[in-house]
């Protein structure tokens, strides 16, 4: 049972990292941590002590692939944001704020 709590802890640390970090790269790392925690939970759910449920294996593989695709796009956009803003500090990337008041 402990391993499920550890998995939950990994998810929470990922979300916490997304919330409190100011550096864009660290925010992305937090997102990826949380994503891997969910994939890990998926595999743990389908594991019966000796083998993993093939259905769950397939779901986990697809999840990881989609996660990789979204990570690539997110990183590409972050690179462009870094070029245009000359910073990775998300509290300084705030051009849109001036419209919203």
């Amino acid at each position: 049972m402990l391993i499920f709590y550890l998995c939950g802890g990994l998810f929470c640390s990922g979300i916490l990292c997304m919330l409190i970090q100011k550096n864009l790269v660290k925010v992305i790392i937090g997102l990826v941590l949380a994503e891997y925690a969910v994939s890990l939970l998926m595999v743990l759910v389908g594991f019966n002590g000796s083998r993993v449920n093939p259905l769950i294996t397939e779901l986990a593989m697809v999840t990881l692939t989609i996660g990789l695709a979204s990570l690539i796009l997110l990183t590409a956009i972050s690179v462009r944001v870094n070029h245009t803003n000359q910073t990775l500090d998300i509290s300084k990337i705030n051009q849109l704020k001036e419209y919203s008041d």
Binding site: F11, I15, M18, L24, V27, L31, A34, E35, V38, L41, M42, V45, G46, N48, R51, N53, P54, L55, I56, E58, L59, M61, V62, T63, T65, I66, L68, A69, S70, I72, L73, L74, T75, A76, I77, S78, V79, R80, V81, T84, N85, I93, N94, Q95, L96, E98, Y99, S100
Partner: protein
Amino acid sequence: MQPILIAALVLIPVFSAFAVLLLARWARWFLDAAAIITILLLLGLISGFYIAGAATAGQVYCLGNGILGINLILDGLSSLLLLTVAIIALAIVVYSFAYINKFTAKGKYYALLLLMLAGMNGIILSGDLFNLYIFIELLALASYALVAFGCEKEELEAALKYMLLGSLASLLILLGVVLVYTFAGTLNLPQLSQLLHSTLPTPASGAAALPNYILPGIPLALALFLAGFGIKAALVPFHTWLPDAHPSAPAPISAALSGLAIKAAGAYAITRIVFSVFGLTPQVSQILITLGVISMVVGVLLALAQWDFKRLLAWHSISQMGYILLGIGLGTPLGILGGIFHLINHSVFKSLLFLNAGAVEYATGTRDLKKLGGLSKKMPVTAATSLVASLSISGIPPFNGFWSKLLIIFAAVFAGQYLYAALAAVVSILTLASFAKIQKYVFFGSAGVESAAVGSTSAGSTPDLQQIKEVPAPMQVAMVFLAVLCVLCGIFYPLIISQLLNPAVISVLDINRYAQYSELIPTPTLAAPAAFAGTITALKNLALPQLSLAAIFNIAVAWLILGGVFVFAAFKLRNNKK
């Protein structure tokens, strides 16, 4: 109609997207033709389903091993949404013929737009939770790339914000999916619906009677789904990405995002999950109504303060999503009718308004209301269609928005929610005030109220309002088409309600009907995993070749997404605005 044609609704746009991407370099004329032919095929297919009666009777397509494979389910609600998607997409593609000449990467634009459509059709059709997640990610990835399409400072920032929040939403939905699988042992929506609503042993599994709806973890999964789909639908505590992301995209994409994407991935998914699968309890109904009313009020109040044309429209999207959720959350037949009617009406007039805003930006180069004025003489078609859309969204009879808002307000009164009914009426008046402002500052009044003022908020230089011409013909055709739809939906509302909306409302309300679709799905050759306790024993018999077809298809779809995104990630590193 053949069941395989249901799968064609998803597969045609996917293959068309990749064909467009591959052939873009050699045959540029091919792009417009491929996009419009794809949309017409989709429209023809869904009309065929309506004519054949499959739309009201319901039809199931299975790929792979029964419950474990991929199931696409077409019923009243899904066919109505598919029809809406196809019609709005037709207008958007026609509009894009001329508009997209502002950008260089035409092929990538069409490919992403078609992937978005595939994602939306997939969400609407998918009959199991995991494929729902896959299609939500497909839609989301295409939308992120399209929001950043101009590759300028603000657009990239909006895309980044949208992407971080959207990924978080997908993650919450995925966690919900895993929890549902852990505690219910199945991901198939009709089977899940049967499992959660019957106290009898389920025939498919023969497992022991399950505690109805009180499976541990199911309420948590429902909460995760509401939060995840709430972010996708931009309900108010989760709305912060929408007023940035929707105005930053090219105008036809803003129309698709506001008119279709938040409805397919937000309102439709919430309706399907809550009504057909988990069942509407008084607590969930209260949550939906509260979220709806807060979105309605906050959205319109912030819209009043905006001076950017598209940003104002984006805040109104939040407000109108509140109406839809209020109607659906009431849970009465009248409320659901009003909610779904408002959903399709909002698709029509909000797409039209975004296309109008795009036309104004195309002609003048700015969307700052303070710099515009007196365009009704220069751009008569844009001005007239925008007047129709403004009257529709403000709820003036006989346009379509009036009837759906009236139904929602009546439903709230009959349900005894007098405060919410009064708030809905007040929000409608504030909407009228806000659109009166657009009409006054953009289309009537004198040119350029503050054109001499410096340091105004919106990007772009002050336009010379004397030199403006009406936009090209394809853009006019698209706007007139949607304006005519607004008027027709308003005048012939009894016909729309009896022919299109009633099957949808019945399919939402009749929960047993949805559960019965699981009987149309062939039982797999192995013991289906039913409950977590039973799963372990069932799993020992499960061998890999038994799910090979579905598995190969799923992995192929995932890799197609990955390959597409690789191409776009590379292209993101170039600026493509002319």
